[in-house]
């Protein structure tokens, strides 16, 4: 049964963070498309804003991969029930943090698109504003990551 919970954790990490990123990139790209219609030359600058909310999905992906590696699923092993639950818990930060921060970052990026449309010279300010949210995704990622890579030692010690 442990394998089910561990895989559920990995699935949530990559799935929910991915949804957050997909939504965020979606919101930003919709806004950017409106600007590109008028001025295709701004595409390069806008691309940065469009891609910024995409990182949450990557963090979720990394955590999921680390779960797969640490559970030994790729090597044909299965974790114990306890370890499975712990892996699930370890995935929660990036799942929730990635989901919500991705969407929030998408909205900021979309307003940043507005800045680039009206004042292209200030584009770095738009980018920095969007990157402020990134910190919370990063914190969630780091915590998830540290938890996942230490599950094995901790559960071994408990057992």
């Amino acid at each position: 049964m442990g394998i089910f919970w561990a895989l559920l954790g990995a699935a949530l990490a990559v799935g929910m963070a991915g949804v957050g990123s997909a939504k965020g990139v979606g919101i930003a790209s919709e806004a950017a498309a409106g600007v590109v219609v008028d001025d295709p030359s701004k595409f390069g600058r806008l691309l940065v804003l469009q891609l910024l909310p995409g990182t949450q999905g990557l963090y979720g992906f990394i955590v999921a991969v680390m779960v797969l590696l640490n559970t030994g699923i790729l090597g044909g092993e299965a974790p114990t029930l306890t370890a499975g639950f712990v892996f699930l818990a370890a995935c929660v930060p990036i799942a929730i943090g990635g989901l919500i921060s991705g969407m929030a970052q998408g909205r900021v990026a979309a307003s940043g698109v507005n800045i680039i449309a009206k004042k292209p010279a200030e584009s770095s300010k738009a980018i920095v504003s969007a990157s402020l949210i990134e910190l919370y995704a990063l914190l969630a990622f780091i915590i998830s990551f540290l938890m996942v890579i230490n599950v094995n030692t901790v559960t071994a010690a408990v057992a």
């Binding site: 940065v48 891609l51 910024l52 995409g54 990182t55 990557l58 963090y59 992906f61 990394i62 991969v65 680390m66 770095s124 980018i127 920095v128 990157s131 402020l132 990134e134 910190l135 990063l138 914190l139 990622f141 780091i142 990551f145 540290l146 890579i149």
Partner: protein, 680 residues
């Protein structure tokens, strides 16, 4: 390494030399012109000429755009301006008039082509309207004979003869003959012949049915008319083709039109400067800022060659002078990063060298892969240092080149070269265990250490920011503020750092055999320090330092408040700033997270690519998956590294000291689009 010193220059000259002086300054691209103020001067009205030039420029650009539509020009991603000798660029007015006429001609022809297309569309609509009446063997404009009337037209929807007959009978219209010409679901076309006596009744009858008369009439038979219209279309199309070949032939003049555009741009620039000059009857006065190192040279040149008089002086108010930065070739590429945030103001120092060092460091740590770093170095090294691009456009690539160097170094530190490809290939294809050993640490295995390491670098960065602020305040003679506001915080942060270092040394242990060399060295250094008892000393210093600093902040933080309660509250509230410093330092954990991300994703790409095993298919698969996957990882992580490096500089570092708001030095220069003009 600093902000360039500027001289204010006032140039007095005779009108006779005005043009040549203006051109000389234009070519030198050295003076940042400002407006001459004063009631003794008359100003030359230049607005009209400028708007005239702008119209010519707009039209010429439009002509170029049209040419581009008909004969697209190959232009690379990094197309450079062409070089042109100064003799050729000096267009006289006949030449420029002639080129302008060509441009005008191109725009006119393209208007005509557009008109032709519109005409064709109108004719086609007509034909579509006529098509319903092709069965009618009389022209549409026939209205009847002496005693009869004829009416052709449309009814919407499908109508049958019986239905119309019965309707006619109902309305007692007996002397009516009609024929259905065509019938479809959308409409039925038909024609009526009726006695003139029915005219009135017939009209209201048809109105009730919703009968509509033809939109187009003709004295030809409908079929013939359609044919005639076809011929007309053919004629117009032939004419359009002639127009198109004309335009294509005019493409030869593209270079001339480009030259005209640049010529106009230069004239606009010159007239704008002219408009800022002050004039008297025989003389003119221009004013501007010139970097000190060039000012006397310019003065000499203008005075000897053009018998002008140049007065050089220190800027009346340093705040007014424009700001230019000057740095060595290592940090100069980062000037643009500083300028994008804001140019330094009078009280600032030029932070570029420090920004440059940390910019390269952070970028490298976050990108952290030797393979990717080499790719960046190769591409940006070529673009940044070869003569492929113009000098002004190279800077950005130079910056990324240095970033690439740092990325490569950190890739070696982390033991990452296109992820773990160096481990994967021997293992998959030859069954040999080999691995690229990291110099410093493996980010996945020692992630916690890397996290602490990243935050420590962040703490150093923040402390440097505070030191600059400290220095700036001292320079402004605000010694009390410097010590109490900045110095005390510096003391607190430094003490916290010492506490952390002490704890780290206390926790030092004998490293395992497999530990990478640099990390091992750090561990042994820690052990040695521990033996010397450095941990307790550092902890003690850190603790007392933090207490002294904290107490100092509480006592002095509210000193500017007028009331005693205000002073007390101000001090305590001021201590709350610690949250800001904590979150700033934590923010540097992105150095670890992004560095980890590029490595892990690279490893996953390799893992997926090597699933084909040791076979021909496996090799192809690794190549394909590897190429696509690494390119994707490269793009997204380079973007991440770039964005977050900027953020750390702007948000965490600049907020500590940077005032900004200086005016950028923008010399009167030849800002052309197509050509670079050289002296010979």
């Amino acid at each position: 390494m600093a902000i360039l010193k500027m001289d204010k220059a006032v140039i007095y000259g005779l009108h006779a030399n005005r043009k040549s002086i203006l051109e000389e300054l234009h070519k030198r691209e050295i003076i940042d012109v400002s407006e001459v103020l004063g009631e003794d001067f008359v100003r030359k009205e230049t607005g009209k000429s400028i708007s005239q030039f702008e119209n010519i420029l707009r039209l010429s650009e439009q002509a170029l755009e049209i040419l581009g539509e008909y004969v697209p020009e190959k232009s690379g991603l990094f197309s450079s301006r062409k070089t042109l000798g100064v003799k050729k660029y000096n267009m006289n007015s006949t030449q420029s008039n002639q080129v302008y006429k060509t441009a005008r001609n191109i725009v006119d022809i393209s208007d005509k082509i557009r008109e032709s297309f519109e005409n064709i569309r109108t004719i086609e609509t007509k034909q579509a309207a006529l098509a319903a009446y092709t069965g009618l063997d009389a022209p549409l404009n026939v209205t009847g004979t002496e005693s009869t009337s004829v009416k052709a037209g449309l009814l919407y929807g499908l109508w049958t003869e019986e239905r119309i007959k019965s309707l006619l009978a109902e309305n007692e219209l007996d002397k009516v003959y009609f024929e259905i010409l065509s019938a479809s679901k959308e409409y039925t076309s038909l024609w009526f012949v009726f006695a003139k006596s029915h005219e009135q009744n017939m009209r209201s009858f048809l109105l009730d049915l919703g009968f509509s008369e033809p939109l187009v009439t003709s004295h030809h038979l409908t079929e013939k008319k359609i044919k005639l219209l076809n011929e007309e279309i053919k004629k117009i199309k032939a004419q359009t083709e002639v127009y198109e070949t004309e335009i294509k032939e005019l493409c030869e003049r593209r270079r001339d039109i480009e030259l005209l555009c640049d010529h106009m741009r230069l004239r606009i620039e010159k007239y704008q400067v002219l408009g800022m000059m002050g004039m008297t009857e025989h003389t003119f006065t221009a004013q501007g800022y010139i970097p000190k190192e060039y000012s006397s040279q310019i003065k000499e040149l203008l005075e000897s060659k053009y018998s002008a008089f140049v007065e050089l002086s220190e800027p009346d108010n340093p705040e007014d002078a424009p700001v230019a930065l000057r740095n060595n070739s290592f940090s100069a590429p980062v000037e643009e990063i500083v300028a994008t945030y804001s140019m330094p103001s009078g009280v600032d120092i030029d932070p570029t060298p420090i920004v440059a060092f940390f910019y390269y460091l952070f970028f490298g740590m976050m990108f952290g892969d030797a393979g990717y770093g080499l790719m960046v170095m190769a591409a940006c090294g070529y673009l940044g240092f070869s003569s492929y691009l113009e000098k002004k456009k190279r800077k950005n690539y130079q910056m990324f080149f240095y970033c690439g160097v740092s990325t490569t170094l950190w890739g070696l530190m982390y033991g990452s070269f296109f992820g773990d490809i160096i481990d994967v290939i021997p293992q998959t294809f030859f069954g040999v265990e080999y691995s690229l050993k990291p110099l410093l640490l493996n980010p996945v295995e020692s992630s916690l250490f890397l996290l602490i390491f990243s935050v420590s670098i962040g703490l150093v960065h923040v402390l440097i920011g505070l030191s600059i602020k400290f220095y700036m305040l001292i320079r402004q003679k605000k010694i009390v503020d410097a010590v109490l506001d900045i110095g005390l915080w510096g003391l607190v942060l430094l003490s916290v750092a010492m506490l952390g270092l002490g704890m780290g040394i206390a926790g030092a242990a004998v490293p395992e055999v497999s530990t990478p060399p640099l990390l091992k060295a750090i561990s042994y250094l820690g052990l040695n320090l521990k033996e010397m008892g450095a941990d307790s000393v550092l902890s003690a210093i850190g603790m007392y330092g933090a207490i002294i600093g904290g107490v100092g902040l509480v006592i002095t933080g509210g000193r500017k408040s007028p009331s005693i309660p205000g002073k007390v509250i101000g001090g305590v509230v001021g201590l709350y700033d610690i949250t800001g410093y904590v979150s700033d330092s934590l923010s540097y954990c992105r150095l670890m997270a992004l560095g980890l991300a590029s490595g892990v994703i690279g490893n996953v790409v390799n893992l997926l690519g090597s699933m084909g095993g040791a076979s021909v298919v496996g090799v192809i698969m690794l190549l394909l998956v590897g190429a696509v996957g690494h390119l994707l990882n490269f793009a997204i992580n380079m973007l991440g590294a770039y964005v977050h490096t900027n953020r750390l500089q702007y948000v965490e570092f600049f907020s500590k000291f940077y005032e900004g708001g200086g005016r950028k030095y923008t010399p009167f220069s030849m800002d052309t689009k197509y050509y670079v003009f050289s002296e010979d």
